[in-house]
């Protein structure tokens, strides 16, 4: 809500009954020229982000970097401890006994990579997010059960409440609702 008290429009949300209808609608909305939109579904749908032309391949790269940092960090830690900070001479054996450092190096690689995977996924998704306008639509609770939603946002240059509503209705939406900000 704006300070004036009048709710602003975040976008228009169309509800669909099947995943197929949602993917088809997303595809047609993209063809129509809409860009600022998002689709919501109770299950991951392989084609949906393709239909919306949304791609993000940053996560695997982040995880690779995390794994490398974890591996190097783990090995360096052991080298520092065993050879520099606390050298123990056991029968003249080398301080830098690298084969003995492999198990811990492996574990720290996995640990940092896994932490990067989860924290990276949450960060890229912008989660945790205490509030989002789509939750203003009462029926949106079904997005985590069995309904499929497409929301065209008002910041899209082509957005116009009446035209966009007509367009969404033409896609066979069960219901089109205004999403208040």
């Amino acid at each position: 809500m704006k300070p004036s008290g009048r709710p602003t429009v975040y976008g228009l949300m169309a509800e669909f009954e099947t995943a197929h209808a949602l993917v088809e609608a997303a595809r047609r909305a993209h063809d129509e020229g809409y860009r600022k939109m998002d689709a919501y579904s109770p299950v991951p749908i392989e084609e949906l982000h393709d239909a919306l032309h949304m791609h993000d391949n940053r996560l695997p790269k982040l995880v690779l970097a995390g794994g490398i940092i974890g591996g190097l960090g783990g090995y360096s830690l052991q080298y520092y401890v065993a050879a520099i900070a606390y050298p123990l001479n056991v029968g003249g054996r080398p301080l830098h006994s690298w084969p003995m450092f492999i198990p811990v190096t492996f574990e720290t690689t996995i640990l940092v990579a896994a932490l990067t995977t989860v924290l990276g996924m949450l960060a890229l998704n912008g989660l945790p997010q205490p509030f989002h306008p789509v939750f203003n639509v009462p029926r949106f609770a079904l997005a985590s059960r069995n309904r499929f939603f497409l929301c065209i946002e008002s910041r899209d240059p082509k957005f116009n409440v009446d035209d966009t509503r007509r367009f969404l209705e033409s896609l066979g939406a069960r219901e089109v609702t205004v999403v208040e900000d």
């Binding site: 689709a39 749908i45 982000h49 900070a85 896994a114 789509v134 985590s144």
Partner: protein, 475 residues
């Protein structure tokens, strides 16, 4: 010869829709009345948990002298139970990660509680070595490398320190995997909860998940990556646990067979525990639609395969004792079979070597009562295996003058029974407050009812063709 069916039986009973799957699983948490049986089960588990508390307090007050351990058997119950619990945990990760990578969609209905089982088993396991250090409040600087004022650091050439890193990494990654899998289901519970407290708690845990297409896209990537990371991890954990034994020079421990034999044993005991838990749970909560006979049959087959690997391990141990022509190894094996603990060895052979052979018979694999009994026998057998490995090798090693005997005390038993209480208490709380079956992954199985659609699944069981998703009747 019986005819082999081409299409395996369904992993979810026919007739389910997105809505019915969601409602059925979330109702257990949200609307179903907490049954008397739950209170009874939780009450017993919580009483046992209090045995754990008492055992720990008395141990901290008096010291490890209250246990049966002494020289030469300094490991005793603490290590036996640690290895037993850690092994049980392995099935959860195997089901959630390895079966995911192998595109086994049947894993979907059992992975959530198997992962929970992993977490609780690892928690139970971790108690033992920490208490076994004798003064756990000092164990922080013994176990973890941090710059302390004494300028003392852990010894990274010791398998015991590797174990610290392996187990703590394993606990962390299992928790992450479990929690990531829960996020979409927590959102479902948030949206469906009738109570304000429920909405706030589930809402906070769901972190604002809204099922956006791009979020799902990254989520799927993250889930696959986690599975890829957890797979080598789970193999490494019990390998490193076996190094605790194999890197030493004690007869019966110093063997190259130990890592694979331990990993197979871990999966074996873990699947036994999954069956021990799944069979009563599906009956009590009426989940036969989701945990079908196919699941039990498949798990029984894995039990049989890993049981054969474990039996092979026993044979190789005996063979190497003879083939090495090493006096101490040969004596260790003879002592193991005919010495004071010989009865334990033969009991373990019966439990782990012979009993699972019954699973060759399909009638037994699909008989839930027999399967339940076999899983209990295997749990006991795997505990006996660890007892035999730890005790028979230590109590008579090289010098007859330093031989001794080991017997657990009531406090050993108290701590052991207490961790079973901890494990079961956590499990009962989990069954009550969180969805024990992954709701969103079960939704993806709905279209898989059609036999042709089964092959079209992507790694997490996502239907690749939207047309394969069954349309729903309007509410």
């Amino acid at each position: 010869m019986t005819q082999i069916p081409r299409v395996p039986p369904p992993v979810i009973a026919p007739g389910h829709t997105f809505g019915s799957v969601t409602d059925k699983i979330s109702a257990i948490v949200l609307t179903r009345k907490t049954s008397l049986g739950w209170w009874l089960g939780f009450g017993i588990a919580f009483a046992l948990f209090n045995v754990l508390m008492v055992s720990i307090v008395y141990l901290l007050a008096v010291g490890t002298g209250i246990w049966g351990i002494n020289i030469p058997v300094g490991w005793g119950f603490a290590i036996i139970n640690f290895v037993w619990w850690i092994g049980i945990g392995h099935a959860g990760t195997l089901i959630s990660a390895i079966l995911l990578l192998f595109k086994q969609t049947w894993r979907t209905s059992i992975n959530r509680f198997a992962e929970a089982m992993t977490l609780f088993a690892v928690a139970s396991a971790a108690i033992f070595p920490i208490l076994h250090t004798g003064r756990p409040w000092l164990a922080i600087y013994w176990l973890f490398p941090y710059p302390n004022t004494m300028d003392v650091w852990p010894q990274f050439r010791s398998p015991l320190i590797w174990d610290v890193f392996a187990v703590s990494t394993y606990a962390t990654v299992s928790l992450l995997f479990w929690f990531v899998g829960l996020i979409p289901d927590l959102a479902t519970l948030r949206d469906r909860s009738e109570s304000k407290v429920g909405r706030v708690i589930y809402g906070a845990l769901a972190m604002g998940w809204r099922g956006s297409a791009i979020h799902w896209h990254r989520y799927e990537t993250a889930y696959l990556l986690l599975a890829g990371l957890a797979t080598p991890l789970v193999v490494s954990v019990h390998t490193i646990v076996s190094f605790d034994f194999a890197v030493s020079v004690v007869p019966g421990w110093h063997a190259t067979i130990f890592p694979p034999y331990f990993v197979a044993g871990a999966i074996y005991s873990g699947f036994a525990m999954v069956l021990t838990l799944a069979i009563p749970i599906r009956k009590i909560y009426g989940l036969q639609d989701f945990i079908t006979e196919r699941h039990l049959n498949n798990m029984a087959k894995i039990l049989l395969v890993t049981g054969l690997i474990v039996a092979y391990g026993y044979m190789i141990e005996a063979f190497m004792a003879w083939y090495s022509a090493n006096t101490y190894e040969t004596y260790m094996m003879r002592n193991r079979m005919t010495g004071p603990y010989g009865g334990f060895y033969w009991a373990l052979i019966v439990c782990n070597g012979l009993t699972p052979q019954l699973l060759w018979i399909k009638k037994i694999r699909t008989n839930t009562l027999l399967l339940f009994l076999i899983s209990l026998i295997v749990n006991v057998g795997m505990w006996l295996e660890r007892f035999v490995i730890v005790v028979t090798s230590l109590h008579r090693d090289f010098l007859p003058s330093s031989w001794g005997r080991y017997a657990p005390t009531v406090w050993d038993w108290g701590l052991y029974v207490g961790t079973i209480g901890l494990f079961l208490s956590l499990l009962f709380l989990f069954l009550r407050f969180l969805p024990m079956i992954s709701i969103f992954e079960m939704r993806t199985l709905v279209p898989d009812n059609a036999p042709d659609a089964r092959l079209k699944s992507s790694p997490t069981g996502v239907a690749q063709s939207p047309t394969a998703i069954a349309p729903e009747t309007a509410r």
